[in-house]
Structures are given as structure tokens and as C-alpha cells.
Symmetry: C2
Subunit: 344 residues, 2 copies
């Protein structure tokens, strides 16, 4: 009785795949009605909707999102581009984004640039090819090609982590101010010979901005602002090694301002192993406010940034924008908090 769908020679269909047409046929409606029953449930009658959903269930239909996206040029994919997955900071932002976006039925396309702007451009190109609904990227710096591509894109773009003149939406904090803030704290504490230690500042240029703030503050007080730049990425190990380096290069150092908590904690733990007293022999400060810093003794003085909240807020703003609502705010300053521990 039931006619098979046409199976002409040129067909490329994978015969095992259940299509929406089959669901529609089983439910006794047209394909387009079945499509509506699934994607715009309020546009079909209750009885139709139910019989379609039943057929979906019975046939084990899995919607082909690729075909749907092509037809509608909307994909419910959100591209997230981060410079590193080792740095837990970005993972926390991803986490905040992910939990909010997945709850709204968006999927995440993840890319890692390894702090390389050309790689970023490649990833952006690929992701635009997927008709992503929006793009999230870390930072405000991009190469020209990338900037051109994004400028004409027409979908929301969210730049996270730093604050400034973004391409579209922007959430972050003022890193220069954060560097200044910590420098100020160290000076207040009476330290005069302060070294800044960072890792690959040309790549992790936000840490470079913090150094800039730090340096300005020190110069303003008539102090030198020596810098030790490591060639490895930030880690406990690198922090431990940098302590020795600082003590060798700048023996009279009273305090070290580290670009992040991994380095700082590594140095602090190394100092303990060497029998140095923190902060009496050497004061140590970090940045990020990782839990680790609050569990070691002495507690690490650091600057806390709301990373997961930043991700959540970014996601909420994107969703608001994607659902056609007017943007709440184009720019969010999530701020930072100086957490004075016992290490300074």
C-alpha cells in the first residue's frame, strides 16, 4: 500500500537516515507542517503537534541540523575562541558561557589560538563558514584580516576579558588599573624594590597591560620597575624557577608582583621550601584570585576577577541580543577586587 519514497539512481541518501518527510508521512501531514510542529510548536494545532511528536519518537527521528541551518541560515552554534586551555582563567569563562548557552539550546564550537592572532583569523573564517549565531573571543586585539571579516559579519560579537573600544559587545576589566592597584598596595605596605614577573607578555598582552599600570604607579612614586619576562607559560613550576632568577638578578628585592596566581603560588611554595619567610624575606602578590591562593599559608595577596560570572554575563547578553531584544549594555566592566592576604 504505502509507496516507497522515490529511489532514483542518482540519489545519495543514506537509506538508514530517517528524514522529516518520513515523519510527516507517518503523521499524515506535509513536511513543512512537521517542521513547524518541531520548530514553531505554537503555529500548529495541538493534535497535529502531538501526532508529529509521536511519529518522531516512533521512527527515532534525529533532526538534521546541517540541512536546517542551510535552509534557514541560522545555526544555534556559538563560536568561542580562547588563546589557551592551560590557563584556567579561560576555562572558567568557557564554563560560564557554556552553562548559560547550553541551557538555551545553543551549542559551542571551541577554538584555541595559542595566543596567535593569525590562528585566530583562521578559526574565525572557519567558524563564520558554520553560520554561527554569535562569536565570543578573548581580547580586543585582532589582525586586520580578522577585523575586516568580522566588521561585515552581521552577527553579535562578544569580546571578553579586557575593556575598551570593542567591535560590538564587550565584557571585561581594566587590566592597567588592576596592575596599578596592586602596585599601589605594595607601595602602601612599604615595599620599594619591587620586581614584576610575567610570562610571554607579548602573547599574554593583558599581563603586559597590568605591568604597564604597575610601572606607571611605581614611576609616579619615583621607583624603578624592573621586569622579569619568562619564556614559558605561567605555571607553578615557572613561578618556582622565577623566584630563584629574581633573587639572583635583583638580590635586594623586597616584593614580587606576579602576572598571575600560578606563578605567584609556585614562587610562594618554593620560598617555603627554601626556608624563606613570606612576606618578611620576600613579599609575593599574584593576579586572578584562584582558590589555591586562599588555601596556602600565608594566604596569597591577589586580585580577584569574576571569571565565571563574566562568562555567564556574556552569554546572557548574547542571548538577549539573539532573541531580538535591544541590547542591555554594549559594555560591561566586571571590575576586580584586591584581596589582601598574608603574603605582602
Amino acid at each position: 500500500m504505502s509507496k516507497d519514497l522515490p529511489t532514483n539512481a542518482k540519489s545519495r541518501r543514506r537509506p538508514e537516515q530517517v528524514t522529516l518527510s518520513q515523519v510527516a508521512q507517518a503523521a499524515g501531514v506535509s513536511p513543512i507542517t512537521a517542521s513547524r510542529a518541531l520548530n514553531h510548536p505554537d503555529k500548529v494545532s495541538t493534535s497535529t503537534r502531538q501526532s508529529v511528536l509521536q511519529s518522531v519518537e516512533r521512527l527515532g527521528y534525529v533532526p538534521n541540523l546541517v540541512a536546517g541551518s542551510l535552509a534557514s541560515s541560522r545555526s544555534r552554534l556559538i563560536a568561542i575562541i580562547v588563546p589557551s586551555l592551560i590557563n584556567s582563567v579561560f576555562v572558567e569563562i568557557i564554563k560560564g558561557l557554556q552553562e548559560t548557552l547550553e541551557a538555551q539550546g545553543y551549542q559551542i564550537l571551541l577554538g584555541n589560538t595559542d595566543y596567535d592572532l593569525d590562528r585566530e583569523y583562521q578559526l574565525v573564517r572557519t567558524f563564520l563558514g558554520w553560520s554561527c549565531s554569535a562569536l565570543v573571543t578573548a581580547g580586543l586585539r585582532h589582525n586586520d584580516a580578522c577585523r575586516t571579516l568580522l566588521a561585515n559579519w552581521g552577527h553579535p560579537i562578544m569580546e571578553v576579558m579586557e575593556l575598551g573600544k570593542g567591535m560590538d559587545l564587550n565584557i571585561g576589566l581594566d587590566h592597567t588599573a588592576a596592575g596599578r592597584c596592586m602596585a599601589n598596595h605594595l607601595i602602601d605596605r612599604g615595599y620599594q624594590r619591587i620586581v614584576y614577573v610575567g610570562a610571554r607578555l607579548s602573547h599574554d598582552y593583558r599581563a603586559g597591560m597590568r605591568y604597564l599600570g604597575h610601572k606607571k604607579m611605581l614611576k609616579a612614586k619615583g621607583l624603578e620597575a624592573p621586569l622579569l619576562e619568562l619564556n614559558t607559560l605561567g605555571s607553578l613550576q615557572a613561578g618556582a624557577e622565577s623566584l630563584a632568577q629574581v633573587l639572583k638578578d635583583y638580590p635586594a628585592t623586597q616584593a614580587i608582583h606576579f602576572a598571575n596566581d600560578d606563578l605567584a603560588a609556585g614562587a610562594l611554595l618554593a620560598a617555603q621550601r627554601q626556608g624563606l619567610s613570606v612576606p618578611d624575606d620576600i613579599a609575593i602578590a599574584g593576579f586572578n584570585g584562584l582558590p589555591l591562593g586562599q588555601h596556602i599559608t600565608p594566604k596569597l595577596t591577589t586580585i580577584l576577577s569574576p571569571r565565571e560570572a563574566m562568562g555567564r554575563l556574556a552569554a546572557q547578553e548574547l542571548i538577549r541580543r539573539l532573541s531580538g531584544k535591544s541590547v542591555y549594555r554594549r559594555q560591561h566592566d566586571v571590575g576586580f577586587t584586591l584581596q589582601v592576604g598574608e603574603s605582602t
Copy 2:
């Protein structure tokens, strides 16, 4: 002179989007040849390839991967499903996968189940809808619907982290053996009253398997194997709190075997703050081999698992499979290493 492409009333094209046809026209070849120039460069002549690439550049063409995937039913997307992004273990696996896959031109679709198998099923459904080239998921446990869906899928499936009878490919380690190994170490050290502390073992069932191994070993030696199960996820904070709990519930405890290093390090640092000597007053062991454990004093005794390598290996195996080569090995035991520190 140059005719515009047909612009009939029903067209839904976004006029600003450059299509492959336009590139082909500019290069003076047919669309299909342009497609080949980009996707199968060895199937066109050098001169054709170059003129197509020039047109791509000149027009700023960005391939529509959605259309390409629909036509070819191949997507170069790899789905990765993890139970948590807080747990750095999974992030390291993602990292290993990502660096290998992105280098081969694959993109990552990321999903997080929050240790919920129903959520996993939903994610799998969605990801299958994207015609992913392969799927990576953590663990061997899935619900029935998910298992059915995957069984008929026809693309590579990689189950990571644990070892056992998988659906397709499998890379991981034997958690029961790992639990046994650590328990054995603690007994060897002379400890008799040993408590196991884990977090949400019904969710993090791999930690539950380690407890099982631990318990078996202790029972075999005629020892009790008390368990403290926390209701929060593993963290330094939870570890610190659990130490107090253990000392209250089991005052005579000599050693604590923690389900992971976050808990163990949290407890170790808390013990130090309370003036307890580790391991003399209380011995502490963890699992994972996080860098943190090797930087605190005393160094944490733990079991090291090669997480990033696991990700890399998984990715390599998938790529091998996707490029049509016969599978090197269906199952990889990446093993584990007991790292004896000073905390036991």
C-alpha cells in the same frame, strides 16, 4: 557585460555572501571545478588551482561549511562530551584532543553533561544532527536511548578515561586497579585505619570504582574500609572541610585516601594550618598527579594519569580511523603511575 546571477523573487540569498559560483565565474571555471580546487587540490591542474585561489582571495570568499556538509554528509566536526569543566582532568583531555584535531582541520563541538546521563543523551542527539565525523565521550556508562542511538551511528566513537568493553574505541585506565594500588601502598606503609574520601561517587563513578579497588584490598588484609562521601564536587575547600569531618567521625584515622588531588591538597593544606603533621599525625594520598601536589610540602603521594596524552592519543586514533586507515588498536590502556611523595 557580466550578467548578474538570477535574482528571482523567491530567492532567499543574503546578497552580501560570496558564493563558490561567483568565485568560479571570476576564475572562469565551473563551480564544481572551483570546489575541487579547494577541497581536492590534486584533482585540478596547477593553473586552475591558482586562478581559483586568486579569485577566493580577491572576492573574500568564505566557504559555507554548512552547505558543504549537507552535500557531502561529512562535516569535520568532532563532538566532545565531558561530564564537567570544573574538574581540570577533563579540561586536560580536551586540550590533548583539541591540539591534535585542530591541527588536522577538525573543529570541536563541546558539550557538558554535568554528570547526567540523560543530558548526555540530549547532547548526543544534537551532535548527531550536526553530522559529526566522530564523537568523544567520557566514560563507558550511557543510558539505553543513547546506546541505541550510537550503536547504529556508523561513525567512530571514542570513550575515554576508563577501560572496558566500549562501544567502539576506548582509551583509559583501570580505576579499580588504581584504587587497589594506592590502598596497597598505604598498607605497605603500615597504616591500618584508612578512610576513603570521595565526592558524589554516584556521579563521579570512576572515583567510586577506585573506592571499590581500595575496599577490596583492605578487606583482603582484614581491614575495615570506611567511606566518607561528600555532597559537593571535589575542590580544595571541600578537601579542607572533609579533613575535619574525618577526624570527628573516625578520630583514630591514620591515613586518608582521597578520590582526587584537589581534595587531598585541600586537606593537606588545612592540616598544616591546624598544626597537624603530615604524615606523622595523618597521612594523605590523592589521585591524578596534578602539578600542585608536587609543589606543596610535603609532596603529595598520588597516582599520576597521563591525561593530556590520553587526549592526544584518542585524537590520533580517531584521525587514523577517519582517514580510512585500519585501526591501530581498538583499546588503549594508558596506565597510571604511583607517585610516592612525602605525605604518606
